[in-house]
């Protein structure tokens, strides 16, 4: 109580209470501070992911409204076909059936072979074709 004796007459209790304010251990402060900051950081990370997701959805909606999705999908499929053709060409060479060259040098049409009439045994049950009478002048 030597301290109080020295200031027995007039001591500033207000200042003494402030000066003797209990202080936590520095390790305790740093530990709790890290805990608080970690929680804040993880929340910020999840917020960032949510923001990116929302932005993507908005962009997709905006594109879909002007038909951009169909355009993009057809472009993507064309690109895929091109890549497939380059990377893995097919063995079978398909020749276009109609082209100016083929039209010019096309194969002669096959003569129609008249089917021989088989002499029937009779006309029974069949309708005989009508023959035109010969021209007599």
């Amino acid at each position: 109580m030597r301290y109080w004796r020295k200031r027995h007459e007039a001591f500033d209790l207000d200042a003494e209470l402030r000066a003797s304010r209990p202080e936590p251990a520095p390790e305790f402060i740093s530990r709790l501070e890290a805990r608080v900051r970690d929680d804040g950081r993880s929340r910020v990370g999840s917020l960032r992911v949510a923001f990116v997701g929302a932005l993507t959805a908005v962009m997709l909606l905006a594109l879909a409204s002007v038909g951009g999705v169909g355009y993009a999908s057809s472009a993507a499929s064309d690109a895929a076909v091109t890549v497939q053709r380059v990377v893995a060409p097919s063995d079978v060479i398909t020749v276009l059936k109609r082209s100016p060259a083929i039209d010019q040098y096309k194969k002669p049409a096959k003569k129609k072979v008249k089917a021989k009439k088989k002499k029937g045994k009779g006309t029974k049950g069949k309708v005989k074709a009508r023959v035109r009478p010969p021209f007599t002048g």
Partner: protein, 170 residues
């Protein structure tokens, strides 16, 4: 409107909440437990913080107050006995701190709460009034009385010290 993070700068808040808890429960592990619990709850209910209602420290102190009133008993105020410590081996500051802490511990619950909020958490009378739902004037008067009682307790200790010393020397 953009929400302000009440725990953006935690270190000064930790100190103030700890000082409040230490004035009410005593400096040590119990005050640390209350401080940790306060910040855990604050993290959990961070969305409930409304900056229009007050500063983050007032919000945190409200949580700390509920923690103390809800679970922790303040009857066993654990302070080191300053008489048991040989003052010649200690710094003057430590003696001062322990003496004040012991004197605060002898105050009643209401006075201790006010001293803890005013000098531990460093709140103004107006902020204390907002936190406790009272008038600023009433808080100022109550604080003045609490300090008078504290002054009296410290005076009694001074007066009784020579007697104690004499008894001890016999």
């Amino acid at each position: 409107m953009f929400r302000r993070d009440p725990l953006a700068d935690p270190a000064p808040l930790i100190k103030r909440v700890y000082a409040y808890a230490a004035y009410r429960l005593g400096d040590g592990p119990e005050a640390e437990d209350i401080t940790s619990e306060t910040f855990e709850r604050a993290l959990r209910y961070k969305k409930s913080y409304d900056q229009r209602k007050g500063e983050p420290v007032a919000w945190l102190l409200g949580i700390a107050k509920r923690c103390i009133d809800g679970g922790w008993s303040t009857t066993e105020y654990a302070t080191e006995d300053v008489d048991a410590v040989d003052s010649s081996d200690l710094e003057e500051e430590t003696i001062r701190r322990l003496t004040v802490a012991r004197a605060v511990a002898t105050l009643d619950e209401r006075d201790r709460e006010l001293v803890a909020l005013r000098y531990g958490a460093d709140l103004t009378a107006r902020q204390i009034a907002e936190l406790l739902g009272a008038r600023t004037n009433a808080i100022e008067v109550a604080l003045h009385r609490a300090l008078a009682r504290l002054r009296g307790i410290l005076g009694e200790e001074l007066d009784s010290e020579p007697v104690r010393k004499r008894e001890a020397s016999r």
